[in-house]
């Protein structure tokens, strides 16, 4: 199987999904319920991405207090209201220190 074919298929599979929903929902008058559901999408999706990375980083069930990821996320959360940069710096700082100690 050649590389261009693989990339071409991946382009189609990726772009079709991205374009379809933007096209479908653009310029349409949506009900308040749909608008509310869509407003919740960012929190829902980003939380669902973060959950396993914080609480199941190795894929196994573990006690969170022993996880570096848990403490780094907690630190990040505590300063999140001050902006993205402090959150990234503190979260990654705690994570890096934790990894070094372990």
């Amino acid at each position: 199987m050649s590389t261009p074919i693989v990339i071409g298929v991946m382009v189609l599979a990726t772009f079709s999904v991205r374009a379809f929903s933007i096209w479908l929902f653009s310029g349409r008058r949506l009900s308040p319920l749909t608008m509310r559901a869509l407003a919740l999408v960012p929190v829902a999706v980003l939380s669902a991405i973060c959950g396993p990375l914080i609480f199941r980083p190795s894929g196994n069930w573990e006690i969170p207090f022993g996880l570096i990821e848990f403490w780094a996320a907690l630190a990040s959360m505590l300063v999140a209201r001050y902006g993205m940069l402090p959150s990234i710096l503190l979260g990654m700082g705690v994570y890096a220190i934790g990894k070094l100690i372990n």
Partner: protein, 242 residues
Amino acid sequence: MDISKQSIETSPDSVSAGIRAISPMLLGTAPFGIVFGAFALDMGLGIEGGQAMSLLVFAGSSQFVGANLFGQGASIVVIAVTTLFINLRHTLYGASLGPRLLNAKPSERILMSFFLTDESFAIVSQFKEVRARYYWGAALAMYFNWQVWTFVGLVSGSYLKGLVSLSLGFVMVPAFIAIIVPQLKNAGSFICGISAAGISLIFSDLPNQIGLIIAATVAIIVTLMFEYFMSSNRPDLDRGQE
């Protein structure tokens, strides 16, 4: 730029504001790009193939999986279906972003969708209305950033074999937390975030990030039910107080 203090109504109408907003994330994606470059080389895509994948597909996790399947000699159908499933979350992104995009023609919206990633969506998701220039600033900055770091990974791939085995999943978590927390303004959004994170733990073993879609969808439904229940109970409470 301090995103949490911005107006949440309408995004700024400038490319540079979009670039500034996403800039903290650019450094965060650098390790991913470098590792992808090294990984693509390891999987036999070559420098041209690896860079072409970043240029044309522009989807981090899909690229990793696609390169991996290619390296293992998987069939084209398997690669197509897997890529499709991994990107299903973009249907939620597109559905959420579509109605909020301002100053964008239909053809421009389709072009915009190509640059829709976790990071660019996270940046624009803070606004009720998103101006096209702001989106382009954030999205293109992330696009060029990804190309640069992929190239670095490709040209220095042989020196970075150890990096490929590193777990870099956590790198973007603090940035996403910084975006989620300011949006937790009421009980509904709080319940949504907690339930999405909790449900995703249960379904995280499912392949191709299906668990993510299930968790987000169930969390939204649970939140809507909660809000409906609360609002339908409120008149009763009011009457009871009368």
